[in-house]
Every structure is written in structure tokens, then in C-alpha cells.
């Protein structure tokens, strides 16, 4: 669609209406903020921030309800990670087996470089075992670059226990719904 | 000895010679042009000095006109240099020899 743009009238080309409009808007905001004292600024360290659901903070590994590592070292997240922040060392043939019975293996080492991570959430999206989640942490600090590379223990400790949201079950339900969709008409 | 007309005229003459030297020695058209400005300025200085020591404002009027004409002259000259540069891709007098025998 092409919107026809009217030529400016003589009065408008003086810029005066625009200037007066700007004057009104800025004055209103200035006086409002000065008198009613309701700025939108959040005074962060003093006022705690409220993290909304769906917020994408730092990615951490989670344990299942039994306290076992959910990650099975499939390396999908390592593969999908756009800034290549994740590095997984698989256990190999001689490595330790998984600490839960319904999985074959768990990572020997799992590192996320929080300096590289862009909090995009693709690792969470791709994980088949629901082992990695973006939590609500947003201010990560460290005194050295090496401190910002979080290893497996730290990630598991920070992630805590997560019984799972059964992402795949939901996906299955959705798929089924879509399959039955044309019939319902 | 008090500073008089001679002193100013000497400065003016030396400045004029410097400008002339620049015109002769330098090879960049723009620098030659600047040297010309230097010579004009030397003339200005002499005129103002004459005006001061002869109790007469005519010299200063001359300078006033010279400055005006110089401004016009610089504008036109620079436009010519830019046009020349567009044609020849050089601002070096040794590359501008189409009039040479």
C-alpha cells in the first residue's frame, strides 16, 4: 500500500507548528516529572528488580527430582550455541556412567563462558533432556576472565533442582492437536 | 630609535620577498596560491603603514578594498584549482604543462 504524502502547506513549512508541538510535549513532561516526581527510572541496587516470567537470564544446568544430572552429553547445545560459549567434554568410552539409571552417560566437563554467552536461549530450546534452562540471573560478576567460565559443578549448583516442565510432552500434545485439527472442522 | 614607517615597510618588503620565494620555489598549486596571499598581505601592511604615518585614511580604504577583492579572488581561484584537479588528478605545477612549447 502506498500512502499518499501531502505536500506541506505554507504554514507547516515554517516549522512553527512542529516547534510549538515539541514545546508543548517537552514542557508537559518536564513539569510532570518535576512536580509529581514519578519518573520511570528503577533505582536498581536499592529497589530490587522484578524479573518477569519468560525472562532470559543466564543458562544453568539443572538436576532432576532425584538430584541426578539431567544432561546426557549429547552436545546439541554446544553445536547450536551461536557465540560458541558452551564447551562439553564427553566422558568417552572409559568415563563415568550417568548418575541416573535411564541414561547412558553424563558430561565429563560442561563449561559455559558467560562472557561469550548472549542469553539467546537456543540451548534451552534445543535440549532434548530439558537439562539446561535460562534462569533469571542477569548480573554476573567476576574479578578475572577465568572466573567467568562456569564449570559443571558451578552450573549444577546454580541451576538447582528442576522437576522439568515436560517440554516434549507439551510438544507432542500440540502436534497431536494439529493432526486432529482438520478433522474438527 | 623609534619605530617608524621604515620599519613597517621593511617588514612588508621582507614578507613580499618571502611570498615571491614561495611562488618560485614551491611546486604545489595551493601553496603557490597561499604565497600569493602572503604577497597581498605584505602590500596591505605597507598601505596601512603609509596610512598611519601620513595621517590619511586612504591607505586603509585601499586595504579594505584589497581584502574584499582578495576574498573574491580566492573563491574563484580555488574553484579553478578544484576544476583543474578534477581534470588532471594533480595539483602539481609540473604536471600542468599543456601550454609549454
Amino acid at each position: 500500500m502506498i500512502v499518499k504524502r501531502n505536500a506541506l502547506t505554507w504554514f507547516e513549512r515554517l516549522y512553527l507548528p512542529a516547534i510549538i508541538g515539541g514545546l508543548k510535549v517537552t514542557t508537559r513532561h518536564f513539569l510532570n516529572t518535576l512536580t509529581t516526581k514519578t519518573p520511570v527510572t528503577q533505582q536498581y541496587p536499592e529497589e530490587p528488580t522484578r524479573v518477569l516470567p519468560g525472562y532470559r537470564g543466564a543458562p544453568y544446568l539443572v538436576r532432576d527430582q532425584d538430584g541426578a544430572t539431567k544432561c546426557v552429553s549429547c552436545q546439541l547445545c554446544e553445536f547450536v550455541c551461536p557465540p560458541k560459549a558452551i564447551r562439553i567434554t564427553p566422558p568417552g568410552p572409559t568415563g563415568k556412567p550417568a548418575d541416573r539409571t535411564n541414561a547412558e552417560k553424563m558430561p565429563e566437563e560442561f563449561e559455559i563462558n558467560m562472557l561469550r554467552c548472549i542469553f539467546c536461549g537456543l540451548c534451552q530450546e534445543v535440549c532434548p533432556e530439558e537439562a539446561i534452562f535460562l534462569k533469571s540471573d542477569f548480573s554476573l560478576t567476576g574479578l578475572a576472565r577465568s572466573e567467568m567460565i562456569y564449570d559443571k559443578d558451578k552450573l549444577l549448583a546454580l541451576g538447582g533442582t528442576h522437576p522439568g516442565i515436560q517440554k516434549w510432552k507439551h510438544k507432542l500434545d500440540e502436534a497431536k492437536e494439529q493432526e486432529t485439527f482438520p478433522v474438527k472442522v | 630609535m623609534n619605530v617608524g614607517l621604515e620599519h613597517y615597510l621593511t617588514v612588508s618588503a621582507m614578507l613580499f620577498c618571502l611570498g615571491l620565494l614561495g611562488v618560485i620555489l614551491r611546486r604545489n598549486v595551493l601553496v603557490i596560491y597561499m604565497s600569493l596571499e602572503l604577497m597581498l598581505n605584505a602590500a596591505n601592511l605597507a598601505l596601512v603603514a603609509f596610512s598611519r604615518f601620513n595621517e590619511n585614511l586612504t591607505g586603509q580604504m585601499m586595504v579594505f578594498f584589497i581584502i574584499t577583492v582578495a576574498a573574491a579572488e580566492v573563491a574563484v581561484g580555488l574553484a579553478l584549482i578544484v576544476a583543474l584537479y578534477r581534470k588532471r588528478q594533480s595539483a602539481h605545477v609540473e604536471d600542468l604543462t599543456s601550454l609549454k612549447l
Binding site: 516547534i19 517537552t26 519518573p39 | -
Partner: protein, 380 residues
Amino acid sequence: MAWLDSLSPQTQFVFFTLLKIGCVLGLLLTLVAYAVLAERKVSALIQDRVGPNRVNLPLIGSIPFLGQFLTKLGFWHPLVDGVKSFIKEDFTPGHVRKIYFWLAPAISLVPAFLVIAVIPFGSTLGAQKMVIADLNVGILYTFGIVSLGVYGVVLAGYAANSKFPFLGGIRASAQMISYEIAMGMSVIPVFLVVGHLNLGKIIEHQAQNGWNVLPIFGGGFSAQTLLLVPCGLVSFVIFFISALAETNRLPFDMAESESELVSGYHTEYSSMKFGMFFIGEYANMFAGAAMMTTLFFGGWTLPFFGLDVAPVAGEWWKGLLHIGIFMGKMLGFMFTFMWIRWMLPRFRYDQLMDLGWRRMIPLALANIILTAGVLALTNR
């Protein structure tokens, strides 16, 4: 004060001039620092934010009410900003032209301070006139110095030896040269009316005949005063717009338009060298505001309570009050500069040039002729 009287007049003159230079420079630098804070606070208020309110000094911060208030006001931010500018690494990129790279910030800083020298910022204190240099060609001097300010920008653009600063420098210089013409032409009506180039004389004239921008105070309503109202207004509007363009403020900050040229001619600068550009910009704003106050808004005079005459001996409070009035007017203009920054979007470059050459300059010329006509007809 006995030792002062024992000095020869020349020594006294030198002493008082040095004293005035020191006071004005110190005050100006402080004002510049706080203008940066004011700019941030005004921006914040217009955008519904709170602005800088963090820096807390250890001892003063613990004074019960005042300390907290000053912190909330952001009172210590300029101090900390200054310290930060000094102790930051002074980085010189490898590809720059070294000499000009060092020269440019200084050149952009000096002219703004030199302009202040001829501004009468008060009437008299004791026997001293409150102006550093009472020049007869005051306004010509001002325009000469202002025209030198272009070099800082051009050299900064040239020295950086990379694309964006270069474009910024070229743009800024073209813009400043163009608007200088409009600016110079816009003040000619003022001198036609006043008949003198000395800034002190201009203020005297305004005290007797009403401010140049709106000559309705004092002097009675003659036909001439009424006819001169549009001339003064047009002059002031052109001067104001040109001042915005000269100081590279929005809506004319083509030189450092962040969205296209990174930050224009000072892209390659850091730490104190950048700080000097910054101080230069704000000092230029102060110079522009002071010029507008002097030329159009009556300088240190106020048409009420007999404040428009120089104080007689012993009325030193009046002299101080006059300085206060001048500062008040100047700060009002500074606030307007900041306000306009959030009011109007940036002009496109061709619009800027169009406004300068095809609107402002013909309008200023017409204004000169109109003023001359009015003065000739009303038989002055």
C-alpha cells in the same frame, strides 16, 4: 586597601584585569562543569527519568539532610567526571596525524574563552567596570574569534585520518561558515539602532530605550519603537538559530550525528582531549548565551526598581545584583538550549544548508533594509 592605592594606575589596571580574568575563567569552568550536569538533569526530567544521583562524598554525604539532597541532585558528578577525564588513559591511535591531533582540542577550547573577554557581565564594582576588555570594535572582535573556532573542528577531522571524523569535520566547517554569515548579518540591525560597536554602549542604549528584542520598556512608546519591534524579533530569532548551529547543538549537530557518523570529528579522541572538546562546546554555548543576553536582552539591566543604571559609589550590592541578573539571563538561555535539544529532531544536511543560505541570509538582509528604512523614515 591602602597598598592598592599606593600602586601606579598601570599596575592597578594590570592587577584588576588579572583578577577579573581569574574570576571569570574560574567561574566559567565551574559553570561549564555544572552545565553538563544540568544538561543531564534536564534531559532526564523531559524524558521522565531521574538523572544522575549517585556520587556521594564520604564526609559531606553523612551530613543528615544536606548530604543526601546533594547526592540526589547529582551535585558531585561534575567533580568525579573531571577526575575521571584526567586519570583515564590518553590513547592516541596509530594512524592519526600526531601534531594536529594534539593541537585540535586546544584550538577548539581557546576561542570560546576569548569571546567572553569582551562581554560586560556586570555594571561596576567599586571603580572597576565588570568587563575584561572594553574594546571599541567589540562585536567585530567577537566574530573574528568565533570564526577561528572552525579550525578546531576542521583540524580534528583532518588529524583523525579516518572516514567518519573527516566527514564530521567537513560538515561542521561548512555549517559553521554558512551560519556565521547569517549570524553576522542578524546583528547589523542592532548596530544600526544603537549606532555603536562597543558592547557596553549597546547595553546602555538598551537601558534607556528598551531591550532590542522587544523595545517596549522605558523610553515611552514612540512610533519608532513600535516599528522596530519586528526588526528586533527577527534579528533575535536568526541570531538564536545561528547560535544553535554555530555551537553544533541539536537540531543542527550534523558534525557529530551519532546515528550516521559515530560521533563525528571527535570519534578518535579519548580522556582529557575529548574532555577539552566537551568543555569547548559548553563554553561556546555560554559565549553564545552571553552574546544574546548582551545584544538583545539588555545585558545586566532590568527595567524595574531602577536596576538599569550603573550603581553609584558605595552601592556594591547593586553591582553584585547586576552580575546576578546577567548570570540569570545567561542561564535561562542555557536552559533553552538544553530544552530545544529534546524538542526537535535533527535536520537533514541539505535542509540545514537550505535553511542557512536560502532562508536565514535573505531574511537577515531584508531585516537590515527594513531597519534602515524605519530609522530613515522616523528621522533619527
